[in-house]
Symmetry: C3
Subunit: 310 residues, 3 copies
């Protein structure tokens, strides 16, 4: 199990899950020991397909069991079992809820915090967090359970790491509500990471939300669940990165920009302030605008628009 994309569950056979979820098992009755993403599948891992756009990931997945709806055909290449249910996303939420532990905060210095780490007054930590040497946690920093912070990090006042991400199963009736997706994952920061005041990084649904070595985030940024930020990225104030987006190394993002979920921003790309990135970007891209386009095209469009008026 790769912790980047999987989180443990109480061990249970696929056939037991079929009974609990009111579903039908197609294929071998494996023992499930973790919830995983399709990309990080393995034999004892259970994943899900809620969206046809992930069909290719399913075909390539090594997950032992995949939750799918009653109609979707199994893609060529997938060799594991399929657990058919009416609503795979709701079933996924129910599976994940089996892995949730109560949150335990501690007034002590947790054992995983290096003796050289500076903990300011007003820092609140879960009992099992890990913080590397020479890191500094300023007042009001909150680390939820499982959070891992590397060496030489600086977390400014009121940074929150590991709060639940934002995921809900849509209402199933006209008067019904949204069902929370439990979050079993965690947040992991590399070394030499600096996070500005008030910045929040959400825990993963399963696996990890990651900020790589040497990356710097300014104040009041919002990093969604399962985002992976590479090494030496620089992200200005009030930027938002939606769930499962990937920023490769050396990406630079201007203030108040937004990056949609489930896309990849290639290495060394530069995203202008207030841009809205809605599609994956090739390495070395420079984009501006909302929705974001190539920076040169943006400047041409803006100039043309102004002259067209005259």
């Amino acid at each position: 199990m790769d912790p980047l994309g999987a989180s443990p569950l109480p061990a249970r056979r696929a056939s037991e899950w079929a009974t609990v979820l009111g579903g039908t098992l197609e294929g071998p009755d494996l023992v499930v020991e973790a919830a995983c993403t399709l990309d990080f599948g393995f034999a004892a891992g259970l994943s899900f397909l809620a969206n046809p756009s992930y069909r290719r990931a399913w075909a390539a997945s090594a997950a032992g069991v995949v939750l799918a709806d009653l109609n979707t055909s199994v893609p060529n290449g997938y060799r594991g079992s399929v657990l058919r249910v009416a609503n795979p996303y709701a079933a996924w939420a129910e599976v994940l809820s089996s892995g949730i532990h109560p949150v335990a905060w501690t007034a002590d210095r947790p054992a995983g915090v290096d003796p050289s780490t500076v903990l300011a007054p007003g820092v609140v930590l879960a009992a099992d967090v890990v913080v590397g040497p020479r890191s500094v946690l300023h007042p009001g920093v909150v680390l939820y359970p499982g959070t891992v912070v590397g060496a030489d990090c600086i977390l400014h006042a009121n940074v929150v790491l590991g709060s639940d991400g934002f995921g809900f199963v849509p209402p199933l009736g006209s008067a019904a509500g949204w069902t929370k997706i439990p979050h079993l994952g965690r947040v992991r920061l590399g070394d030499h990471v600096e996070l500005g005041a008030g910045t929040c990084v959400d825990r993963a649904v399963v696996g990890e939300t990651v900020v790589g070595d040497g990356s710097k985030l300014d104040n009041l940024c919002q990093i969604g669940h399962n985002v992976r930020i590479g090494r030496h990225c620089v992200i200005a104030g009030q930027v938002g990165v939606a769930g499962s987006a990937v920023l490769e190394d050396y990406v630079v993002v201007g203030g108040q920009a937004g990056i949609a979920g489930h896309l990849t921003v290639g290495r060394g790309s530069r995203i202008g302030a207030q841009s809205g990135v809605a599609k994956s970007l090739a390495p070395g891209s420079e984009v501006l605008g909302s929705p974001a386009v190539d920076a040169r095209e943006f400047r041409r469009l803006f100039a043309a628009q102004k002259s067209a008026r005259g």
Copy 2:
């Protein structure tokens, strides 16, 4: 008095207010016991008209007394008294300041907090807050006086409920400053509400700022004074909703969108990420862009703009 749109004041006759404010009373000398919005007027309530666009609300208002300027005619239909002053908004600020109590924080568990509520370390509560059963308040959550939180709510780290809203009387001279509008109201959350880390909901000027049952807000959202969010809304990260806006049930708002004040977003509307909603939306609307337009129109405009360049 409906607490949704009114807040108590020390009892005082309208004629006494006329003396204090240097104004003139037209109509019966009622006893004023509350400040109220025009929409939630009642016989012992005092409201104000600072903006001609509220003339229709004034005509229909049951408020016993309305502050108005020296020239505005009383609309057909209004049956209460009028208190004429040079600057109704400044007078309104002065009236409200009579109702303000000092803020009292407590180190104890307030009596209104259900025994089953989880209070993490670093939570700071005013003495008179009410929190329903099974709600969870994570570290750094702050509840200002009067805040009411329902059952089964989750407030993530550093959520702030009930901070003063943002309202100031404009400067009256070239070297003068802005005068604060006192905020007598409160925040009320329904049941099964989840608020992300760092999200802020401001108290009402009078009455309540409301987040309805089952609504979910992501991290770092800003909800202004007197906003009313309906049931089962889903609001992504870094969204801002300006004062007195109304979101009906099942509204979905994408990340970093902004919604202007004093408008209504109809039931089930969907607002795209980074949109700026400047007008009321009919139920079931889908909008994109800043300023926001119908989503299909936005896509046509964007495509036309790109092709026009070529």
Copy 3:
């Protein structure tokens, strides 16, 4: 030394800095006692030129010593010494690091806090902060070292003043990281300033980040290092102001707007919600859009765009 644009350093001769930095001194061997901006230069002050666009400021600067690269010619008018180094920005970071003291938080009420100041539970202060009479600090407010708050200020919950600004020397090799610019300056608020919940104001690199008398900022705003906000400005929620921008008096900024760094917004200008200001604005400007243009032009462009479609 003007504290608005300079911060003390341990006294050291320019020739000693030349040795430490591996550079060459051109001109008198002055004693350096402070780091300063070009605009606030004085005989014992050392500044730097990392960007040719500051050449005019260099020509007019009274700084005793300026760090410059190996090729740039000295502008007419500048009378001080020049310290030639391969990378002036990296050298500047190294100079600044000589002036950094460890951050000391205190559990006591610092001596500089007026007895009439209200400190709510959960406030965390550095030992040397100064807060004027009748100011109110709500729960979770954090004041970093050196912060000065005037009289009659209101800081709502989780406001952070004086966190490090966001400045890094770019990587010098394909696998290298960003080098932090140490921040020696501080934050200074005038009197009657109100800051909304979660708002952050960063300390200056050298000198001060300033919010002038009577200015009001709403929730979740981000004010960068060395920004100077004038008197009686009103800034709505989630606004971002990038480093070294200047807002003159009586500027009004709508929600979620962004203002780029190193520009000036003239007195009384009005910036619409979600605008992106990328150029300096003359006094009395009214702008909308991203990038922001004159408000009338914006409305014409938007109308033309919609009709062109039809």
